[in-house]
């Protein structure tokens, strides 16, 4: 998918997001900067409501209504880009709960052809590309699956399909927002292994939003910890687990490690 000319680095700089409550501006994301590199996973962790998902969405100018980006830029290999131009082209997005992300009355084939058509890909190559992406996402029996509707598929299959659609876009970067939260443990492990393979073998650069430090341990290379709209600590995954410096990071780790008897936080 990616070649030697593929972009290597996506940098979000000084992102600020606010909304208005009772006539007063409220800051939701405050001066957030992130650095996503090809072939790596950067995990963005923190409590629910701390602004993780909003950071992903707002950096691509896809924030929900009533929420506005006030500051910030996004650059690919040092060149600043308009968020709307890179969304779906250089950055693909997958979300939690794949069932709500698909149109219930359309087949997988219809979903799969929509993106390439919108990007102006030649009609002849569209299906071939989708088929290759589905194989990469671990979906066998492609012919049968392309004819299925979302309700005929399991959550794990739908999440693989969402990843396949992201891969078919050819985007070198992937924003994955809680991609395994609603899946069972076994499917979760398979999806995490798939994402790990895609970063290592295909050089995908992943921004992974999660609240589960187990997911971080399984997949992340670097970790940014967010609290109340701000990044409070960024470090390599080994350092975050072995030498957390911020109290919020330590609390996240303590809660996580309390589920593994016989271990305690560093």
């Amino acid at each position: 998918m990616t070649s030697s000319q593929s972009p290597r680095r996506l940098v979000i700089r000084n992102l600020g997001v606010e909304t208005t409550r009772h006539g007063v501006a409220v800051t939701l994301v405050d001066d957030v900067s992130l650095d996503v590199r090809a072939g790596e996973t950067l995990a963005l962790v923190g409590a629910s409501g701390c602004g993780k998902s909003l950071t992903c969405a707002a950096s691509l100018d896809a924030a929900p209504p009533g929420v506005r980006r006030t500051t910030g830029s996004i650059a690919i290999d040092g060149v600043e880009q308009a968020p709307a131009d890179i969304r779906g082209r250089l950055v693909a997005t997958i979300l939690q709960n794949p069932r709500s992300a698909f149109n219930p009355v359309r087949t997988m084939r219809q979903h799969a052809m929509e993106g390439p058509a919108a990007r102006g890909a030649p009609a002849a190559s569209r299906e071939q590309r989708v088929r290759a992406a589905m194989a990469d996402a671990g979906l066998e029996d492609v012919d049968r699956i392309l004819d299925l509707h979302p309700f005929e598929m399991s959550g794990g299959m739908l999440q693989r399909m969402m990843i396949a659609l992201a891969l078919a876009s050819g985007a070198p970067f992937l924003f994955a927002d809680e991609p395994t939260t609603d899946l069972d443990l076994i499917v979760q492990r398979d999806i995490l292994n798939l994402l790990l393979r895609l970063t290592r073998r295909q050089g995908l650069g992943v921004l992974l939003v999660t609240h589960d430090m187990g997911v971080v341990a399984a997949l992340a290379d670097r970790v940014a910890v967010m609290d109340a709209g701000r990044i409070i600590e960024t470090a390599r995954v080994m350092d975050i687990f072995n030498r957390p410096t911020h109290p919020v990071t330590r609390n996240l780790l303590d809660a996580h490690l309390s589920l593994y008897p016989g271990r305690s936080a560093a």
Binding site: D182, D184, L185, Q188, L192, A217, N251
Partner: protein, 264 residues
Amino acid sequence: MSLLAARGASRIYRNGPAGRGGATALDQVSLDIAPGECVALLGRSGCGKSTLARLLAGLERPDAGEVRFAGRSLSTFGRADWRAFRCAVQLVFQDPVSAVNPRETVGQIIAEPLRHLRGLTGVAATGQIQALLRAVDLPADAMGRLPQQLSGGQLQRVCIARALAAQPQLLILDEAVSNLDLHLQIQMLDLFARLKRDRDVSYLFITHDLRLAERFCDRVLVMCDGRLVEETRVGGAFALTSPEGRALQDAILPAMPFRRARAG
């Protein structure tokens, strides 16, 4: 004597997906839950866990076999029996948004079981609602809010408070803490453990997260394709032995990162 039991309970959904005929969701399941006991029900998506929960809570009837509460089959229950049963057995669903009336405030949602099952209204009810909100770590001013004004995790805790309002003897938690942040999951488990200690409340804890089951439960049941395939006591060197149990245990996420070969 067991508080709630299933005896050879089966459930077949006759209108399967895409009209593909009957699907056996539950196949002759038998289990017992004793007073004060906490039982984990483990299995992957679609294995029949939620169907079993609905049968045990009396929301659906088994096509074969029976569900017994305090020694009596639910099929023999009259109106007064059902009322007592609803008081004693409460269920918390996985998806809180679909489990509440979007037009009722949090206060109204929690007041319902207080009024119908415990006969509490007015000031007595308000006091209880505030105590329940405190127990699930929600602010008192949440009472006046509508479901859409709360986050998913907050709304799930409203559903837990509503279930506790009935002062149940058995709480069936169907992936009820899965969507919460870990520290809230642990906080809820601590609350449940306290109720278990103080009031001998029993739990059926349905989850796919073996880590939580191990922390909270006395016994783990593993379900696969509508059947119970394993029963193991928690404690000591805890290890599941059935193929399905092992598959679930092997899929537990690592506690710590391991050094990986890095790309490029």
